[in-house]
Subunit: 482 residues, 2 copies
């Protein structure tokens, strides 16, 4: 029988932390004197108390180690429980959302998806805007820790390939999770502060600079305005591009850089492939903007850089309504979202290293066809890819495509059209944010969708953020039998 | 140095056969006395003479065996050369097509895709209509022979899994290719005749019955009318459904049935999975037609059966303009085209057995996650899937998805919108026929597309029909070096 109490204990502790963090937006609303502070006080009390009761009730079963089953259950459990309570300020606050909408927004925040159901962001109390930013910021660091500590251990989606990397740097004696978390947190906070300062220097107000820095570095993409990032043109876009790209790199490289191994950022094959992909896409979009839409060179470069970086890293800011840019750019943007950034970053989707491994496997297979008796193993970053990693990556890719198909059909069943269904499923599973088409495109939002569609999308965000396998494992008979 | 003369010899012989077969539509036009016969006479003479010269020029290098390289080159060479000449009657005949259009139509015919650039089919000379039907019919038998004889030998896309099956039935002593071809031809002709008789019995005219039987059994989908199969309602649709499904089953099973192993059709796991998939899709579409579009039960069942069978088998007949049926059905149809029929049939796309193997691999991977030290191999049809087969299937799937993406972006580059680009790429690579949207949807045709888009689509049809790998192998350096 699976003992779920250790899971409850961890979830309880995190709920207490979540409740405590509601003090920040409460403080902001108190300073703003807008009469909205009590929303966070009430939500914080409820969340904190539930968390305390849960962790107390489960504290009698806490052990040093978690079993594999418990680790899986905990990973999913955390990402399901937190949005339930993170939704409270959105439910009872000035956003005036139904619970469906509030939960959607909270899930979209914590998974760093950034799809929003709220229109009228410009008039929202600052506490709520900060809360949305905080959710993404917490989600971002949670994702990195999960990708560096838990996923390699759980051997999910080929992430075990990065096991040794993390080890090499840390030394096996350190209590790994805590150590990694604290090092990563330092870097994460550092990049966020740098981003906020840069936004401030470019002329963004202090509050906007802080919130947008949070949603940039987490590649979350919530903005404080209905126009998304369209409120900030010019230099802001270059700054955002730089920090979105930085947030999509493997954070383990930053640790290595701080440890004096500065070259690793330039020699890492995933990073090189990532920048190569982005460069090609930027050039294509830029040329199309110049020759089809008649943009000047600087504007074309800026919009191409910003929007390609935004979609490829899965941030999902929009600087303009790119639905008017025509079929070529829209089609590129659709497939961009299915690429993703690097593993071990805040970005989501299939990710560069998986494509590298898949292409290496295809190449090996083509060679095997010529020389049936030769032995060809796919190689990644100079090393042979083990069969376990390869089949993990393959399983991930198949599940990703099938999940996309199933959610598209399910969304269409709620009455949505083809583009809204397919792009909605893709943007949710890949945690990008905006979809395509008139409803959920960059100029719209997810508010008008039927409730069923919102629950489906929230589920898709969760499944995508947990690299699919973490969720699907829970639906196998064997999981509960063992 | 690769000796291409044996390839030239085979291509030459097939061109002579193609030229000779133009006598059939010539005869029809002579009987119709429409003055159009000379088109086929001229085309036939050109094709036959070129074929004769080519085979004579290459005949000095004919050997008993082809090398692996030569076999690959021959397979691609045949499917590139034949459309070049098969296009002649469409170029110089009454269809009044440009060479781009004529080549597109011929490639669409021989690959059994069935996308058409011609509007005004109803007024075309019967010779040309028969020619379109014949192209698909030849293409269909070509595909089965390729799938049963060449692809398992070339170890393409996991087809090697069916190697033993063909052997078991034939006995190793028979000259395999010729023997399989002749047995398959008998069955193929038999099914076509049965289909034509059934259409005739239901009231279709003799000429229409013959041509539509050819395009049904080849899962090609060319029709004699602009309204596609919409010209034939009621019982015709049930008959077409039955024969489309029959043509999407593995033809080796028919050989086994004639050999007295009748049960194999009911026990074959691929066939069961295929019918299971079709049944679920039919029920979904039927319920949607009843409850959303207010259709009566019989009509809903009929249209659901016909259209799901048409798209899943890759035939691509349309009985109505299903773009009016709303997002749910359209989304289902989009993904239907990516499923496909069974291996060793005339149908194309990913195919059922590959999904079975992919899902088995995913299942094995999920088990491996629970029990890191257990050994789990994916199983298919009661046997363990070898690593070679598994990685072939994976390579196929990755190439399929990436090809889809690349062709979508390339089509969008020619100025097409998102739905036309994506559904056009999908319908071409999967050899289905109609796309989605107002231009290439069931009510439109491919005529209005820019020439570049037509060449891209023709290339995609070829790549899809040759199971991708056969073409991509030619683009590796190693292929030409060896
Ligand atoms: K995002
Ligand atoms: K077809």
């Amino acid at each position: 029988m699976l003992d779920v109490r250790p899971v409850g204990y961890v979830v309880g502790l995190l709920l207490m932390t979540l409740g405590g963090s509601m003090a920040l937006p409460m403080l902001v609303d108190l300073l703003e004197n807008n009469g909205h502070w009590h929303v966070f006080f009430e939500s914080g009390m409820i969340t904190g108390l539930v968390g305390m009761c849960l962790s107390l009730a489960c504290s009698n079963a806490v052990r040093d180690r978690l079993s594999l089953q418990q680790t899986f259950l905990m990973t999913s459990g955390v990402w399901v429980s937190l949005p339930i309570f993170a939704a409270l300020p959105l439910l009872i606050g000035a956003a005036d959302l139904s619970y469906t909408d509030a939960f959607f927004e909270a899930m979209s925040g914590l998974t760093t998806t950034g799809s929003t159901v709220i229109s009228g962001l410009d008039d929202l109390p600052r506490g709520l805007l900060l809360w949305r930013g905080l959710l993404q910021w917490f989600g971002g660091i949670g994702v990195i820790v999960m990708a560096m500590v838990f996923l390699p251990e759980l051997r999910v989606g080929g992430m075990q390939i990065f096991k040794s990397e993390a080890f090499d740097t840390m030394g096996k004696v350190l209590p790994r999770a805590a150590e990694i978390s604290s090092r990563i947190s330092t870097i994460y906070v550092g990049i966020t502060v740098a981003c906020a300062l840069a936004y401030g220097a470019a002329g963004m107000g202090t509050f906007d600079a802080i919130v947008h820095a949070m949603t940039t570095v987490s590649t979350g993409g919530f903005a404080n305005y209905d126009a998304s990032f369209g409120a900030f043109q010019g230099p802001h876009e270059y700054i955002a591009t730089g920090f979105m790209l930085a947030a999509a790199l493997p954070f383990v490289l930053y640790i290595q850089m701080l440890g004096g191994e500065g070259r690793s950022l330039y020699t890492n094959s995933q990073v090189r492939a990532f920048f190569g992909t982005v460069a090609v896409l930027v050039v294509l979009v830029m040329l199309s903007l110049i020759f089809t839409d008649g943009y000047g060179v600087e504007r074309a470069l800026r919009e191409a850089l910003f929007n390609i970086a935004s979609i490829t890293t899965g941030t999902g800011y929009a600087s303009v309504n790119y639905m008017t840019w025509g079929g070529f750019i829209i089609t590129i943007f659709f497939f961009c979202g299915l690429i993703g950034g690097c593993a071990g970053s805040t970005s989501c989707s299939v990710k560069i290293f998986r494509y590298q491994i898949l292409f290496a496997a295809v190449k090996a297979q083509l060679r095997r066809i010529h020389s049936p008796h030769g032995i060809f193993r796919p190689r990644y970053d100079g090393r042979t890819v083990s069969e376990d990693v390869l089949s993990s990556v393959m399983a991930f890719f198949v599940l990703f495509i099938v999940t996309l198909g199933v959610f598209s059909v399910a969304l269409a069943m709620t009455g949505l059209d083809l583009i809204t269904s397919i792009s909605g499923a893709a943007t949710a599973v890949a945690n990008v944010g905006p979809g395509l088409g008139p409803i959920i495109g960059p100029a719209g939002n997810f508010g008008p969708l039927p409730d069923t569609a919102k629950w489906l999308l929230a589920a898709a965000m969760l499944i995508g953020r947990l690299e699919l396998v973490v969720v699907y494992v829970l639906f196998t008979r064997r999981f509960w039998a063992a």
